[in-house]
């Protein structure tokens, strides 16, 4: 009897415990807690600030009014690339936070082609701010008169097109001026850079019109600037990292955000980077602000609960402690009560009293016109595609490689020049370096017919591609090699050292060094060797599988 009584007490206690637990979470544990998810696509420049905040917010178990807890998932993506992904609905985020508002009118115009309302409504709040600047190595900036003399887009553009390069400033040893910005169809800083160049070309600071872009002088000025570009790229963050890793022989200057300079200089001052100091040049004609708007999308897939939850997360990001942290990452907080103090100072290469003026944001139509003009005048690429067709490629691998290669070629323009080399025991050239326009159909057919079999002569093929590009490529074009390989070299006459000698001897000094992008395809690929080859040219190695090879080729295409 007594035992039954104790059992009864135990059962009651368990129930009480469960009831108490439910009180805490709003649901019965173990049955799967109800949660409302907020997905965010954001510009990668704020990754270092945002990522830890997402983790802390999720850990705080914040709730919406109905008691559901909020789960935030944030993914970085190029700001312009993400517009296209959202319009095509290949991603359906709750919140879109690009680097700046500059492209919002274009996003709305695109969205309205299939919807009755805007995708981004008025009144978006800014998360943090950072001006678009030209990042330059301090000794080079000083050669231009920094910090006393103000420097503008026009000076940079003229320097970029000058044959003399740094010699005109008394530094022939620095060679030509090497300039870079990201791809205007993928990244905010890229579109901003070409808009600024269009203003400089037209000699205006506001009211830029599509008619201005018809002016032959404007077009040739812009084409000249583009001709000095080393390569483009999908993300401003990656561009900055390359510049800061490889130093002044790789790039003299690039269009970046102020906050990226502050973080680099913090690293240098901490001893984490051995590079020369880098400074922000605030263009004298004016610049644009990256204002990181937080747009809760007006899209059918966003539920009222998600809107509410996204608002809760926004309020968290705008709270003072989170805004204070943004300052540590070199951003200017959007909370006006936070002063612009260290690390926003000259020690970190920046001047919080700048910029002095801005360029007017053009209308969506003018932005379209600038983009299409850029397409016409952008620097063409001389590209050699090198593809492994050894026996180990059999099956799914060769199939995916063939189809993604065809899509990759479709991303190139008719003005680009292309050579394709297939290697196994033999090295065969499917097409010699020449304009793609005249041979597009033919080359597509030949690539679709590639078959596998034999050994892997990776080194010999690499040397042959490099020699061919050195001989036939133009140093007025971007010159690049894209190598895909799935295994270790088994049959080359040359050694890895000979490959590195061949590509290394030309890469650093030459003004338009050949970039070699490598793809380690599948698990057996020789990642170390491919990485070594790619990085010795300042390019990048990718790891890939038949499932994502398409995406990898598409990303490489953003460099041209």
């Amino acid at each position: 009897m007594r035992k039954r009584f104790l059992q009864l007490i135990a059962i009651v206690q368990i129930w009480l415990f469960l009831a108490a637990a439910c009180e805490g979470t709003g649901t019965v544990p173990g049955l799967g807690q109800r949660a409302v998810s907020v997905s965010i696509i954001y510009g990668s420049e704020k990754q270092e600030w945002l990522e830890p905040l997402v983790a802390e917010f999720n850990a705080s178990k914040a709730k919406i009014q109905s008691g559901e807890s909020i789960k935030v998932e944030a993914t970085p993506m190029g700001s312009i690339e993400s517009v296209h992904a959202i319009i095509e609905q290949s991603v359906q985020p709750t919140v879109w936070s690009p680097a700046s508002s500059i492209y919002i009118p274009v996003a709305n115009a695109e969205w309205r082609k299939s919807h009755n309302d805007d995708l981004v409504l008025e009144n978006t709040k800014d998360l943090v701010l950072s001006p678009v600047v030209i990042a330059m190595w301090q000794p080079m900036a000083e050669a231009l008169g920094y910090p006393q003399k103000s420097i503008g887009w026009e000076d940079i553009s003229r320097l970029a097109v000058s044959e003399e390069g740094w010699a005109a400033y008394g530094y022939p040893e620095w060679g030509k001026f090497k300039f870079g910005h990201t791809h205007p169809e993928y990244s905010n800083s890229g579109i901003v850079a070409i808009i600024a160049q269009a203003y400089a070309a037209a000699g205006k600071q506001r009211s830029l019109k599509s008619e201005d872009l018809q002016n032959p002088q404007v077009r040739s000025f812009m084409a000249d600037v583009q001709s000095s570009i080393i390569h483009y790229g999908t993300s401003t963050g990656f561009f900055a990292n390359r510049m800061f890793e490889r130093g002044p022989s790789y790039l003299s200057a690039a269009v970046l955000y102020e906050n990226l300079i502050v973080t680099q200089e913090s690293k240098r001052l901490n001893g984490e980077s051995q590079q020369l100091p880098v400074v922000a040049i605030y263009p004298k004609e004016g610049t644009f602000w990256a204002n990181h708007p937080y747009a809760i999308l007006n899209a059918p897939w966003v539920t009222p609960q998600q809107k509410e939850a996204a608002q809760v997360f926004l309020n968290y990001l705008l709270d003072k402690p989170q805004q204070m942290r943004a300052l540590q990452y070199g951003f200017r907080p959007s909370d006006p009560s936070i002063s612009l103090t260290s690390p926003l100072d000259s020690q970190h290469g920046v001047d919080p009293q700048q910029p002095k003026t801005v360029l007017e944001v053009p209308s969506a139509d003018v932005i379209y016109s600038i983009q299409s003009l850029w397409h016409e005048i952008k620097k063409p690429v001389d590209l050699v595609i090198v593809i492994d067709t050894s026996g180990s490629m059999a099956g799914k691998k060769i199939g995916a490689a063939r189809s993604s290669l065809v899509q990759f070629i479709n991303l190139l323009s008719d003005r680009d020049q292309l050579e394709v080399i297939a290697f196994s025991s033999q090295i065969s050239t499917l097409t010699e370096l020449s304009s793609l326009g005249e041979k597009r159909e033919d080359i597509t057919r030949r690539v679709s017919g590639i078959i596998e079999g034999g050994d892997t002569r990776l080194y010999d093929a690499t040397i042959q591609a490099h020699q061919s590009l050195m001989e036939k490529g133009s140093d007025k074009h971007i010159r690049a090699i894209v190598i895909l390989s799935d295994g270790q070299d088994t049959a080359s006459d040359a050694s890895l050292q000979e490959v590195l000698n061949q590509i290394g001897s030309k890469s650093e000094e030459s003004e338009s060094a050949i970039k070699i992008f490598t793809i380690a395809y599948g698990d057996d690929a020789d990642e170390d060797v491919l990485k070594n080859i790619a990085e010795s040219t300042g390019a990048k190695q990718y790891k890939s599988t038949p499932e994502n090879i398409n995406k990898i080729y598409a990303e490489i295409a953003t460099f041209f």
């Binding site: 701010l129 001006p131 600071q205 506001r206 602000w289 959007s334 006006p336 009560s337 910029p355 003026t357």
Partner: protein, 400 residues
């Protein structure tokens, strides 16, 4: 022990009277509020509270919330009915439009200025036959405090154009500078780019509306008798006015958030804006931590954001509510609440006995930034139909 019968009668009578008095006292509205709550509610359910629904413009948000907290602590009542205040903030124009089309049924409305009351009178008279606000009755609309429209610029830039005061033709000067292709180059500072003037969207925010009114008066160099013909019949005025408005790249949604942006982005985006004096005071300290000091200028004739509190003459407002509303407005005009408006929020109290230059007042603290206690003269507020004409003209040509 024998108690005489008469004593019992007297005792019982006394007890009865005491109980009756006690009960009566609890029922009486006058005594109720002082008695023990659970006991009085047992005897008679509490009287229904009178709820005052108030729509107010956003600039006075912080002040009104603080004032209501203090008000409710005084247990206010009318004829024994406790007074409760419910509030909702709204843009000033949105407010009268919501009242006109019946979306909102407030007892009191308090837009940022009498401009909106003037329009509401005009529109409601033509819609309902009688106006929703009786301005003839002095007590139905009372201003609690005011703040004039001023020009705010970054100190360094202000000095480059107006080392002392702007002079009488301030609006002409601004228009000329903003439309000059040379921009700041004309004043020796080409590095500052073109001159960027700004104000809020007149359709959404009162300060923007006040700005375009002052611009219009400024063009005609007068301070009264503006006509619809001035606006619609004068081509020179139109191209002058639209020329300036077209240089403005973004019109703010509300004065408060617009001013925040000015401080956040600094002089690269805004050289000079036209906002309320109180808004400039609110951000003066923040400005120093960002891009330096602000400078305030008073246009030669201004217009006041006078924050009228108007009790509506509408069928949904009972006489009891109207009386309770008077009690609430009296409270807002009481000294401590008026002082709060001045000392913490930089408004000019309607209660004239409160001195603007008292120690600790923002008018003393920011005197070097150009703040003045003396008000410039004010322009005449035109009739509702003229104001509407101006808004329509702006809306047709500029609205974006």
């Amino acid at each position: 022990m024998y108690t005489p019968r008469i004593n019992w009668i007297i005792f019982s009578f006394f007890v009865l009277i005491s109980v009756a008095v006690f009960v009566a006292s609890l029922v009486s509205p006058l005594v109720r509020s002082y008695s023990y709550a659970p006991l009085r509610d047992l005897i008679l359910p509490p009287p229904k509270p009178i709820t005052l629904y108030v729509l107010y413009s956003t600039e006075k948000d912080a002040w009104i919330k603080e004032a209501i907290q203090i008000f409710e602590k005084t247990n206010p009542s009318y004829e024994g009915h406790p007074i409760k205040v419910e509030v909702k903030d709204m843009g000033s124009r949105e407010m009268y439009l919501a009242v006109l089309d019946g979306k909102e049924k407030p007892v009191i409305i308090s837009p940022a200025s009498s401009l909106q009351i003037s329009i509401l009178q005009d529109l409601s008279a033509s819609k309902f036959g009688t106006p929703l606000v009786e301005v003839s009755n002095r007590n139905s609309c009372r201003s609690v405090f005011s703040s004039p429209l001023v020009l705010v610029a970054w100190q360094e830039r202000a000095q480059a154009i107006w080392s002392r005061e702007p002079g009488k033709d301030v609006w002409q000067q601004i228009q000329k500078l903003a439309t000059d292709p040379e921009g700041w180059g004309a004043y020796g500072h080409p590095e500052w780019g073109y001159f960027k003037f700004g104000h809020t969207n007149p359709l959404k925010s009162n300060s923007g509306f006040m700005t375009i009114l002052l611009l219009t008066y400024g063009y005609f160099d007068k301070t009264s008798s503006l006509t619809t013909n001035d606006i619609l019949g004068n081509k020179d005025f139109q191209s002058w006015f639209l020329g300036l408005e077209e240089t403005i790249s973004r019109f703010g949604e509300s004065t408060g958030t617009y001013m925040r942006d000015i401080i956040t982005y600094g002089p690269s985006v805004y050289d000079m804006v036209s906002v309320y004096e109180a808004t400039a005071i609110e951000q003066a300290d923040n400005a120093i931590g960002r891009y330096g000091e602000l400078r305030v200028f008073y246009p030669p004739a201004t217009v006041l954001s006078d924050h009228p509190f108007c009790i509506l003459n509408a069928e949904w407002v009972s006489p009891q509510e109207a009386s309770a509303a008077q009690i609430f407005i009296d409270f807002l005009l009481s000294e401590p609440i008026q002082n709060l408006a001045l000392m913490r929020y930089g408004f000019r109290p309607a209660e004239k006995s409160i001195r603007l230059d008292q120690p600790g007042s923002p008018f003393v603290r920011y005197e070097t930034n150009g703040l003045k206690t003396d008000l410039p003269p004010q322009v005449e507020i035109p009739a509702g139909n003229i104001l509407n004409t101006l808004l329509d003209f702006w809306s047709r040509n500029i609205n974006r």
